[in-house]
Amino acid sequence: MFLQKTKLVIPPLRDDLVSRPRLLAKLNEGANKKLSLLSAPPGFGKTTLLSEWIHKKKFPAAWFSIDERDNDPISFLTYMIAALQTLDKNWGQPALELIQSPQLLALESTIFTMITSLTPIPKNFALVLDDYHLIQSSSIHDMLGLFLDGLPPKMQLILATRSDPPLPISRIRTQNQLTELRTQDLSFTSDETTRYFKDKLQVDLSIEDIALLESRTEGWITGLQLAALSMQGRTDLSAFVEKFSGDNRYIVDYLMEEVLHRQPEKIQDFLRKTSILDPLSGPLCDAVMEQKNSQQMLNRLEKSNLFIFSLDNDRKWYRYHRLFADSLSQRLQHKQGEIVPELHRRACDWYDKHGMKYEAVDHAFAAHDFDRAAFLLEYMAETVWDRGQQVKLAQWFGQMPERLISQRPQLCVFYARSLIMSGRQKEAEQCLASAEKILESSSEEVVEILPDGTRFQHIFNREELLGKVSAVRALMAMYQGDVANVIEHAYHALVLLSEENLTWRGVVETMLGMAHGWAGDGNMLKAEKAFSSAISIMEKAGNSSFYLFAGLALAGIFTYIGRLQDSENLCKSLLKVAEHAGLSQTGNAASLHSILGGILCERDELDTGMSMIKKGLELAKLSHDLIALQGIRLNWIRVMVLTKDFPRALRFIDEIIKDSKNIDLPPWMSHVVAAYQARIWIELGHTDLWSQWIEERGISVEDKLSCRIELEHVVLARILILQDRPEEADLFLDRLIKNALDSHRIASAMEMRLVRVKALYAQAKIEETIHELKQAVAQGESSGFIHVFTMEGKIIARLLVKVLEDDKRAKTEQDIPYSTQYVNKILSAFEGPKSKTKTPGIDESLSDRETEVLKLIAAGLTNQEIAEKLFISLNTVRTHTKNINNKLDVHSRTQATARAKKLGLI
């Protein structure tokens, strides 16, 4: 992303600086606190003071001068990181990549990555955000609030603003982590005023005169500066001061009149007309003024201190003091309002000629020359979008008449993207339709006659643009959850987009992968193909963060298609990539840990596997990636079911349901949660809940089969078996298995086969039972599954023993598609889980208080009596009993007492 380096430059020490040691001391005190806030209207020397402090104290500080464009969260973050990079250029690359990755990432994740990488810095440093009042975006305020919460220990944030920012200021004040410099603090004292006039300006004023000036201006530094300017060349200063202090007019009005009237008309004209420029340079002013000596004029203005600052060391670029520029431009408007658009047009021309297209577009809009703006924007839209300036682009589009946009296909594409992001799908579709019409009817070369009469030849690649139109349609379908249309448009886009167009192709392949994956139509092979393409594209493009996202998706697909070893290898190599790219603390890395852990658990390496998933949970919480967190929780729930820790599994389900109230769970996830819930109820024997569940989920064996409700269908089959209807279950499972295998959902098919084994066994069809089991074993070995067998219960173990006996007795050495070793491995896994977890029946041990309560329960006391005896509230007793029941896995006092006695607790 292109950066204006001037925004990161620490303003140099001013020559006319009035040193303010009392304020420097305050800033020194604040250096060890989180936040220093300088809040006052313009003209109280906030920037000057900070510059003095940084230079004199030689404090390591990063500077970010904010302007209105930075209201885009992505732009803001990019500049924040770039500013911090001026302190250490080796820092921040991972965070930058995160921001720029096309993944719809929560910006919070970037903040956390930044905090994590800043925390180890051992010496004090500060980040100054100058002109923070220009930020209106609540997303940015939220992000900064988060940043302040987790602020690295050696870091200090300094905000200079005209209004108090909507950040948790009072909380920071209460924590004694705030230093405040407000209007009263920043106003010049009489000492400072005296030093300004006597020492800096060598203006000889009496004490009374200085007092009058101070009182009239109330210590407003700009007012004092204007007053000083007005006094230049006058002989009777006392008279001036007296007249000034007796006048009621707004200081700026009064003094500007005084100052300007004493300038030659040529200078006044120059000042007024160039006030529309920000920043200004000699050549730019020449173009706007249609003269040749602007550089000299600018130098002269700077020398006379006429409110102009140079922005760099070569004196190329300048800026007027804001108030001065405002005052001048309102005079311009009043005096010669009709030429203002023309001045903007000249500025636009100059910027265009010098290749600064962004600024050219800005001035075109200011000139209300929308034709010109549209013309310029057409070729810039993609760059602006890639720079993360989507908000600015949306604003520009908002100012333009629709007809100008609909004539230009490239603009339509980006306008449509903008509209989709604000939920205006119908308008987006209209836009795309008009783009298509133009592209299909015209040739690839269009000649446009510009307003100034010149001919411009547009050359665009029709196929490429039509490809982008399809890609945007796929994007829209994704927002609407319309899987079929995502697939249709995505394939169409891939046909049309060129191979070199990495960004667009990468986004499309990823959308395709998601549409074919578990979130879409469940066609796993197609998903695999799409994600594989996405990964190699992202590798070529060198975008690590997006590479990780696509890679992680592929690893997930591998587990679904029963290629566990491939998934494990991919996860391990992706984790290395994450480490190198500094992305180990992200939600994506968390998910990788989880997938890896899940595979290890499946393979009966429970200790390692469970600690990997736990690590994933921690990382997901740390990086605030809530969607990743839910996915990892689902993985953990499966392991809890595997180890028969059902109460804990149910608690995790509760956590997911709780979180789903605040964030939108992807639809596929809520189906999986429902399936696990019912599965656990089956294991716990809650038969009363089954029929209600079936009704609530609205499923039956007559259903059309789909990947989305697959797991719930398997639960239905289980229930049918337990309800003594194994024939129905058998027929249903037959359909389910075929459907899963068609789309290569091997993992699902494994589970279904094993449930079918139980259905066949219930029908006493022994031969078919063994046959089906053997098929499952064969598939299981080639894929690497183990615990999918143990999760189906002891009956499977008994049948496997039978299988081994059968095989031994077989007369001919037929091709047995699995090894005896493998079957034995499964059988030993049946013993495994129990010995690896803690004391069976106890999740966590009872606390002292809980043991006390339990003893009283066993002694037959009521809750009220217990409360009175222990001097605690009734509610507290109830909480304790609830915890005791959970921990002992019981549902009544009698059961609790019996259990406790059995376990020797009382």
């Binding site: 209207p41 313009p42 700009t222 707004y250 009005d253 108030l323 309102q330 005079r331 408007q333 009043h334």
Partner: protein, 77 residues
């Protein structure tokens, strides 16, 4: 909506354009800006400009259609 904003000090009528065409009236001690405002966003934009000129804000009042001042509490900023 019509609003009336009162600030301390005597403001030049030049500033009318700066304040989106509001009428500027001064009694020598304070100045009143009166005019039509499209929506709240525009109102807050105006208040920001007043802040940027370092003009102390005295009051902001919504006028009913007859031009009389509605009794309103002072705008808290």
């Amino acid at each position: 909506m019509r609003y009336q904003i009162r600030v301390e000090g005597q403001l030049n009528s030049h500033w009318a354009h700066w304040f989106e065409g509001m009428a500027i009236d001064s009694d020598g001690v304070t100045t009143v800006l009166t005019g039509s405002i499209a929506d709240q966003s525009q109102l807050h934009g105006l208040l920001h400009r007043i802040r940027d000129l370092n003009l102390p804000l005295i009051s902001v009042n919504k006028l009913d259609t007859s031009g009389k001042e509605k009794i309103n509490r002072e705008d808290k900023r």
